[in-house]
């Protein structure tokens, strides 16, 4: 004989209400986000270590390359004289984007870790929608990556990049949008992976091309045709351009110069910053949808 009547749902007093509802799922999103941020904050060693690579790039490409370019005669970007652009100013937003990219992708790696070491199961058996895992992780990774980008801004004066308060106010939301898009991408990949090795292989394969084709290190104009196509398919390109716009604007680089080295054009037109932001957001949402599907697949 099977079961006379359902057990009463535990009441609010006994602990569980609103199970499987949207509010329960939202709480789970919050919990997953909070856990990520707490661990990021607690793990200072990782926080500092993950700054090492962008700083190295900044020193080598920025200071090193920039002085050798100057030695070879002429600034960067064509115009000499006051208000001209040096390579450090150009590459700085690219390196900030790099910090965001790497942090976002590697924070997604924790999903594979959690799956392997069980904590994810605890969430997957809870009475919440599985989409909570994808959304919580994407937001958690985005927060970490954005904070990492903000920390990079602190180094601007040290390498001689002048930031105004206004440009910082502009940069922070842009960093978040880029961080969200990339973190969602990372979660989408991680949601299909069952092993750390698998994730690392896929990411090693993707990460550097995404970075190199994003315009972080060189302007995206005047490239060979095939390369131009690839750069336009790189989501990070639409994050680097607005960051560069804000940085160069704050540094007092003439708008025409900044536009020539920094802007991305599509079908012969310059893509304006608001459109770039919208494209990144759409990309992030699409990646998130893929991630949510990934978690709905039963093990």
């Amino acid at each position: 004989m099977i079961v006379a009547e359902p057990e009463a749902a535990p009441t609010a007093a006994s602990g569980v209400v609103g199970v499987g509802t949207r509010s329960a799922t939202l709480r789970a999103v919050y919990m997953i986000w909070y856990r990520d941020v707490l661990k990021y904050w607690r793990d200072r060693v990782r926080l500092i270590a993950s700054l090492a690579q962008p700083l190295l790039f900044l020193l080598v490409f920025g200071l090193g390359l920039s002085s050798s370019l100057r030695g070879a005669g002429g600034g960067f970007g064509g115009t000499g004289g006051s208000g001209s652009l040096n390579y450090v100013q150009f590459v700085f937003p690219g390196v900030v984007a790099m910090a965001v990219l790497f942090t976002a992708i590697f924070s997604a790696m924790s999903i594979v870790w959690d799956r392997e070491f069980g904590f994810l199961k605890e969430i997957l058996v809870a009475p919440v929608d599985r989409s909570a895992v994808a959304v919580g992780k994407a937001l958690g990774g985005a927060t970490q990556a954005m904070l990492q980008g903000c920390v990079m801004l602190v180094f601007a004066p040290l390498v001689g990049v002048h930031l105004t308060l206004l440009s910082v106010v502009e940069l922070v939301p842009l960093l978040f949008v880029l961080a969200f898009a990339l973190s969602s991408l990372g979660v989408a990949v991680a949601s299909r992976m069952r092993s750390m090795q698998g994730f690392q292989v896929v990411m090693n394969f993707m990460l550097l091309p995404i970075f190199f084709l994003s315009g972080a290190l060189f302007p995206l104009s005047g490239l060979p045709g095939w390369m131009t196509v690839l750069t336009r398919l790189d989501p990070v390109a639409y994050g680097v351009a607005p960051l560069r716009h804000a940085v160069l604007g704050g540094a007092g680089v003439p708008a025409a110069v900044a536009a020539r080295v920094g802007d991305v054009s599509l079908f012969g037109r310059t893509v304006p910053t608001p459109l770039e932001v919208v494209m990144l957001l759409l990309f992030g949402v699409a990646a998130l949808a893929v991630a949510i599907r990934g978690f709905r697949i039963p093990d």
């Binding site: 359902p6 605890e122 809870a126 009475p127």
Partner: protein, 348 residues
């Protein structure tokens, strides 16, 4: 909400009068689970009553974890039905999840967080109200004897402490049914009995129904009722006494100087069929005390020792399957190899 005693079914006030005590809270019919060519669960039926401790016993790879995963809505059955707390696990997984707690076979704590943080996160997703959260967390920590380690990182805990913390987490949201997959695996005897005390107390104070798997036969003594599963089939179900009656009478073991000769002599003179196991002859007889003098008379080789004991569940398992349930404390690597071999064997 406190952990004060509550009559099982008291919470039934929302759906009317308290249900009858013998209502089954878990009902399984014809459950089958296939992993590709491997049939892990081959059509099992189970009934677990409200408020009892139900033991699910079986050797490695018998299908225990698979069954638990289906009951906890983590895995879809290939066929058959299962009801938990009144809800179909396939059709109403959210309702089932809200009423159960689960302690996984494999560790599932975040060891970079403290014990309290692990519990706080759990309380958050299960919406234990903020007002009682702290008190409730303290209570479950006290209950498993970890009150003084609440702020330590889980990384610094011993295996037994982690297990107890997982049990605390499993009951934090006050589930009506607690599933435990091998809660005592790999722990030393003191820790095992300590965990058992906690579980007994849970059942006594809160009326929680406990469904647990183990392959320690001696632990089944703590269970109200037991099902023995082997190769995906239930081979026996009942109370420990009922199962032991299947063996009938007492188990007598004798060690002699010449076991082979003794075996033949016993078979001829006493009409029982002993089995040679671990260097002693083992037989089941109706009345052990009366049998021993006859045994000694029948054997011509010097007798080194004779023991008479009540049958254990190991004897039951041996009788039902023709095998011992496990090699005593086989190391995990060996267990894995055995599992792999079995896997390969079935695929062929």
């Amino acid at each position: 909400m406190t952990l004060s005693a509550s009559v099982p079914g008291e919470r039934g006030s929302m759906t009317g009068p308290a249900p009858e005590p013998a209502t089954s809270v878990i009902g399984v019919r014809g459950l089958v689970k296939r992993y590709g060519p491997v049939e892990a669960v081959r059509g099992i039926d189970l009934d677990v009553h409200r408020g009892e401790v139900f033991g699910f016993l079986g050797p490695n790879g018998a299908g225990k974890s698979t069954t638990i995963s289906i009951l906890c809505t983590l895995l879809r059955a290939s066929s058959g039905t299962a009801h938990v707390a009144g809800f179909d696990v396939q059709r109403d997984p959210a309702a089932v999840r809200a009423r159960i707690g689960l302690v996984f076979q494999d560790p599932s704590l975040d060891d970079q967080l403290t014990a309290r943080e692990n519990l706080e996160f759990h309380a958050l997703i299960y919406n234990v109200p903020r007002a009682v959260r702290r008190q409730r967390i303290n209570e479950v920590l006290e209950m498993v004897g970890l009150g003084d380690r609440a702020s330590s990182l889980v990384r610094t805990f011993s295996g037994g402490m982690k297990r107890r913390l997982e049990i605390a987490r499993g009951i934090l949201h006050d589930p009506r049914i607690l599933f435990l997959d091998e809660p005592t695996q790999g722990l030393d005897p003191q820790t095992r009995s300590r965990i058992w005390e906690h579980l007994q107390e849970l059942r006594r104070r809160l009326g929680v129904t406990i469904f647990m798997t183990t392959h320690y036969m001696d632990e089944a003594e703590y269970c109200d009722r037991i099902a023995i599963i082997d190769h995906g089939r239930i081979v026996a179900q009942g109370t420990s006494d009922q199962l032991k009656q299947m063996v009938g009478g007492d188990v007598v073991s004798v060690i002699t100087a010449d076991d082979v000769r003794a075996m033949a002599e016993i078979e001829r003179a006493l009409d029982v069929s002993p089995v040679l196991q671990d260097g002693s002859l083992r037989m089941e007889v109706a009345d052990g005390a009366a049998f021993v003098p006859r045994l000694i008379g029948a054997v011509s080789a010097p007798v080194r020792s004779v023991t008479v004991r009540r049958p254990s569940l190991d004897d039951v398992f041996l009788k039902l399957t023709g095998r011992a349930i496990r090699d005593e404390d086989a190391d995990p690597l060996q267990a894995m190899r055995a599992m792999g071999a079995r896997w390969a064997g079935r695929r062929r």
